[in-house]
């Protein structure tokens, strides 16, 4: 008996050491200017979960063209990425919302002057289970659903089922955008909030899993995350219609009501490798954008023009 116990401890030890070893894999410090003579330049890129797949696609393509550059991309939410940029642990923060004034103040206090780039456009799709007969909603109805005023699908022309509200966590840029532009209908004076019954899912994957499985659920997420096994709702600004489904065309011509810009932030004016990377994203990199369900920025503007906005300190 003791022997068996000993063996299982040994096994655990081996697994544990392996784990530790993997965790200790050398990661060069971000933005290490001193190490630039080495073969690899490293760019740390972190933030919005909405942007993470697109950022990965960009990074992979860019590393293919420029093998001397290494780009590591992680998600975690817009707030997470911005916080990391403020603390100086990443070079580029991805965000699906603008930086908040207090975040800019915190960055300035750290001696960091954030610079903003619009890198793509995104439509937020409202999704339900494929078996749900409801296929169109007005912005007002979506707002009423998410504030808890409408609690049953029969109130919006569906079956007699309770509505289960799904949202991203409050560190998600998608959450803030949806709250301001859909729940509050863009009214700055409004103090409406998500219903306390809203399920806050830690990831996009959490939302799509629940929507796939649960015929009561309604969720929202970036268009790039909508899988074919979810049903996308056509949205109208006014009760009369027109009800519009999100697509590259409807976002570009402005007829789909829930769309927003996606951002990258750098700590100060980008230089060297980071500057080249962002320039590439804003030009050639835009070709990848539609493949991931997002909408390219108009014209693929170069670095110094309209997509570059600098905050005065």
């Amino acid at each position: 008996m003791a022997r068996r116990g000993w063996l299982s401890w040994l096994l655990l030890l081996v697994i544990g050491v392996g784990w530790w070893w993997a965790g200790c894999a050398p990661t060069p410090p971000p933005g290490d200017q001193a190490g630039e003579t080495e073969a690899a330049h490293t760019i740390e890129n972190k933030g919005s979960d909405t942007l993470v797949n697109l950022a990965l696609a960009w990074a992979e393509e860019y590393m293919r063209i420029h093998p001397e550059v290494r780009i590591s991309v992680t998600g975690g939410g817009s707030g997470t990425g911005i916080a990391a940029m403020i603390n100086g642990t990443v070079d580029i923060a991805n965000a699906s919302r603008k930086m908040k004034p207090e975040e800019i103040a915190a960055a300035e206090a750290n001696g960091i002057h954030p610079v903003e780039f619009i890198v793509a456009l995104d439509a937020i799709a409202v999704v339900v289970h494929p078996s749900n007969p409801v296929d169109r909603l007005t912005l007002q109805q979506i707002s009423d659903i998410y504030t808890g005023k409408i609690t049953n699908w029969s109130q919006v022309g569906g079956e007699d089922r309770p509505i289960v509200l799904l949202s991203r966590e409050s560190n998600s840029g998608t959450y803030m955008y949806f709250l301001e532009h859909v729940v509050r209908l863009g009214d700055k004076e409004s103090d409406l909030l998500f219903s306390p019954d809203t399920l806050l899912m830690p990831s996009s994957e959490g939302i799509s899993t629940e929507v796939r499985h649960n015929p009561n659920a309604i969720g929202y997420d970036g268009l790039g995350y909508v899988t074919p096994d979810q049903k996308v709702i056509a949205v109208a600004r006014e009760p009369g219609g027109p009800y519009v489904l999100p697509s590259v065309e409807t976002v570009n011509d402005g007829s789909y009501p829930i769309s927003r810009p996606l951002y990258m932030y750098t700590a100060g004016e980008p230089t060297g490798v980071i500057k080249e990377y962002i320039e590439w994203i804003l030009t050639d990199g835009q070709a990848l954008v539609p493949e991931l369900g997002f909408v390219p920025i108009a014209g693929g503007s170069p670095l110094s023009s309209l997509s570059l906005m600098s905050y005065a300190p």
Binding site: I15, G79, E102, R161, S170, D197, T198, L199, L200, M201
Partner: protein
Amino acid sequence: MHPRRWTEFAIESLIRVLGLSSIGFVLLIFLFLLKEGLPAFLEIPPENLLGTRWYPTFDLFGTLPLILGSLLVTATAISIALPLGVATAVFVREVAPGWARELLKPMIEVLAGIPSVVLGFFGMTVLAPLVRETLDAPTGLTAFTGGLVLAYMALPTIISVAEDALDAVPKSYRDAGLAMGATQWQTIWRVVVPAARSGILTAVMLGMGRAIGETMAVMMVTGNAARMPLTLDSLFRPVRTMTATIAAEMGEVARGSTHYHVLFGIGIILFVITFLLNLIAAGAIFKKRRRGGLR
């Protein structure tokens, strides 16, 4: 002789330093927690802090739904894991034949090594739909689902510790029980288990500690809706726990903001609850010891 005494001294002091440093670390962590968390209790008026609305982005820091959420999930987990765990321990220690025990013990130990993310993912994709369909609840991401996953996580701890406690019951107790004409079942239920009571209580407390502190799995299966679990059906509705709140929101907050302090404040509340639980357990064990014997 001399070098040997020297190495002995070195090893002895090394062990002493290591032992003391662990106390030091706990103390430092606690101080850090206080330093970062206490401002929350000063900055935020108590009626906000004890409110029922948790919308940290809008300065509504009602921690009550989170505390109740954690307690509900933990209580559910324990009321599932306790009978199962003790029964398994009794089976492994008292009933199972030798070869089965040899097989079961390492398997239970391996059970404890499953990463909580894996359990959370399993709960999210398999358990949650099952719970929804079986109970006809609006969603499967509920306090009950969280309780199920946590019960599974607390089980290995409860079984191992309870088994050790049963193991420590002297053989003479069992012999005496059987000699008095009691059946094996009666001996186990009336003699062995009561004699191991304090150890079993420790097992439950450790399991409870595991359950209330668990984060990842809970975050994935409880739905994280900060609602007050006061109605009868709350068990089968989503809840948001303290740990999930800290984990989900800590990445976002700006250092030194009110929200940041509140999250550490929740850490303090969690610490106090765990501390009280341990205190109660220790008190109960101490009282039993003093009264002594089987009573």
